[in-house]
Symmetry: C2
Subunit: 330 residues, 2 copies
DNA sequence: TACTTAATTGAAATCGATTTCAGTTTTATT
DNA sequence: AATAAAACTGAAATCGATTTCAATTAAGTA
């Protein structure tokens, strides 16, 4: 069923049917009624592809995430849908599996008028990213990383880690281990570590490389990293750069026969849903990922609505220190 | 940049450019080279919408999920991408927030040639679902629920719960509580409960309504349900219909001053990622959601490839009993 | 060499909607 | 009643690709 068929059945032209469907332009009451009757009767739904082509917009937002099956990503997407739904926009999701290659490809592909805007939750920003992004003909908003010239929704990693570090020190800890990730991830790998290093200095604590381990994002990585640290030295507190790493670390510490938090305190970052249900409940930093998705979507719509060039800005998402029992005062 | 512009720059017709792009039809080597040079130089990427309209396929698969920010859903989507990626298909995700209304709307909307096929992870199947589904002009595969006339990827809930129940009884438990969900969810609400009831009968255990509580899917619901049960009676084991419910139940049991598994054993179903990192680690049933996504996608492509009507079939996904320490032998 | 077949090319139709434009009918105003 | 303004309508152009079709050229064969 196409618009032509409806037109024929209702005894009008396709133009009139279009006017009825979109409720614009003049249509006499009786014709409108006739058209509406036919539409209802045959259950006509217009071809969205044809509409998109003619209207030069698809009403689809492209979303690029490193891995959808991750609490962070799925919550961000949740937040995005919350906003897009109010505008009747659909979401095209590109799962890149953390591969830079895929990320670039998705950016390129989505830009070809398939989507009206793009939100990318990035783990790494390379020169190639920036180059492709600049060529984009649709607005782009970045979540989680800074990218010059684009609106970015960011987590205030430096302050969060600093607050957490201060809290750990204030709780009486001096030997604080750090489990981080690769430096290519600026926000999580670099900034969070820098805040740790600056924290040490501020409190005049010595930097001990034996207490620092860098790994991937998985729980298993946390386990490995912690094991490596324990082979060298037993810290009184461990600051892991994500909750998953913290969970892995806890496991490793227990497997070595130590108790948490009596022997070693552990903290994470992110506040995954289950953080409070672990035993002991995890001390961590709460980020509202859903909110960041919402804000990114709002920013994107702002840019799409704007005719002239939009001024990029960095938006920082609030965080909360969540004090639970995985950290013990000494 | 459109195909016409490329044609002009390369000194050929749009038809020739199209032939080069899609590598079909005859094109002389020199013209091909010329066209390829221009394409590369200007970084031409064809308008996907226009292609879709002309080709009568969008190379997009629609995915309808109750809530993307759920481990189950996001893993399913992960599995789907795994398969769609090999075919260069994109994913359009409709997040319905568990609202039937939204589910129906999404089905209707997606069908209008916007997508080439649909995968729906349903929680409930109403008559309205079936009616809309029958009118669809694109193939549809269902995950998690049975729907007459459509290919369904199912979890063998009855057998899984039966195995688990047997294991609990074999471990010496007689007072087994049950935390379930609404019966409108046939697979989780109805079948899992029926397996519990049949289990009682098979082992000649009395049915005690005080030991059964029905709630929503959240952790909090598990807490509420367990609290209600504990007000009446103290079971030796609790069978929760999802891991999240189990986690809530564990919390409630602890808050009443009982130990797990010494005083009360608890089991879940689903085997979420963190199940093994809880303390005690959760005894549960492992479902491979990612695999179900993959299989659903493969089935969908099969149908899309097929010219004639495809014969619907039910496919059951394997499960594994995962024995951990949240259940204690008596 | 004559003739068949294969290779090459671009003009124009097509996909299914929207919108402009020009023509026609109503309605409002003086 | 005359005229201006508003309401209504459909034919045709358009969005940006693909593909058919017919025309032309090159290659192969007897």
């Amino acid at each position: 069923m196409k618009i032509k068929d409806i037109a024929k059945l209702a005894g009008v032209s396709p133009a009139t049917v279009s006017r009825v469907m979109n409720n614009n332009g003049y249509v006499k009451a009786d014709k409108r009624k006739a058209v509406e009757a036919v539409i209802k009767e045959v259950g006509y739904q217009p071809n969205e592809i044809a509409k998109s082509l003619k209207n030069q917009k698809s009403k689809i937002i492209g979303v690029i995430v490193p891995k959808i099956s991750t609490e962070t990503a799925s919550r961000i997407v949740d937040g995005i849908t919350q906003v897009t739904k109010t505008r009747n926009y659909q979401l095209l999701i590109a799962n890149t599996n953390q591969q830079i290659e895929e990320e670039i490809n998705s950016l390129k592909f989505l830009s070809n008028k398939l989507v009206d805007g793009i939100i990318m939750s990035a783990t790494e920003v390379t020169d190639q990213h920036i180059e492709v992004a600049r060529r984009l003909t649709v607005p782009l908003v970045i979540i989680g990383q800074k990218m010059e010239g684009f609106t970015c929704v960011l987590y205030n990693n430096y302050n969060a880690v600093t607050d957490l570090f201060n809290y750990i020190v204030d709780s009486g800890h001096q030997e604080i281990a750090f489990i981080g990730v690769d430096q290519r991830d600026i926000e999580v790998g670099q900034i969070r570590k820098q805040a740790y290093l600056d924290g040490l200095e501020r409190h005049q604590l010595p930097y001990n490389p034996d207490l620092v381990a860098i790994e991937d994002f998985s729980i298993e990585s946390g386990y490995k990293a912690m094991t490596r640290i324990l082979e060298k030295r037993l810290p009184t507190a461990v600051m892991a750069v994500t909750d998953h790493l913290a969970i892995g670390a806890i496991q490793a510490i227990r497997d070595c026969g130590y108790r948490i938090p009596e022997d070693v305190s552990v903290t994470g970052i992110g506040d995954i849903k289950l953080a409070q249900y672990l035993s002991p409940p995890l001390t961590t930093v709460h980020y509202n990922f859903k909110t960041s998705g919402q804000i990114a979507a709002e920013q994107l719509f702002n840019q799409m609505d704007q005719e002239e060039k939009y001024v990029a800005e960095d938006i920082y998402i609030d965080y909360d220190l969540v004090i639970r029992n995985s950290l013990k005062k000494r």
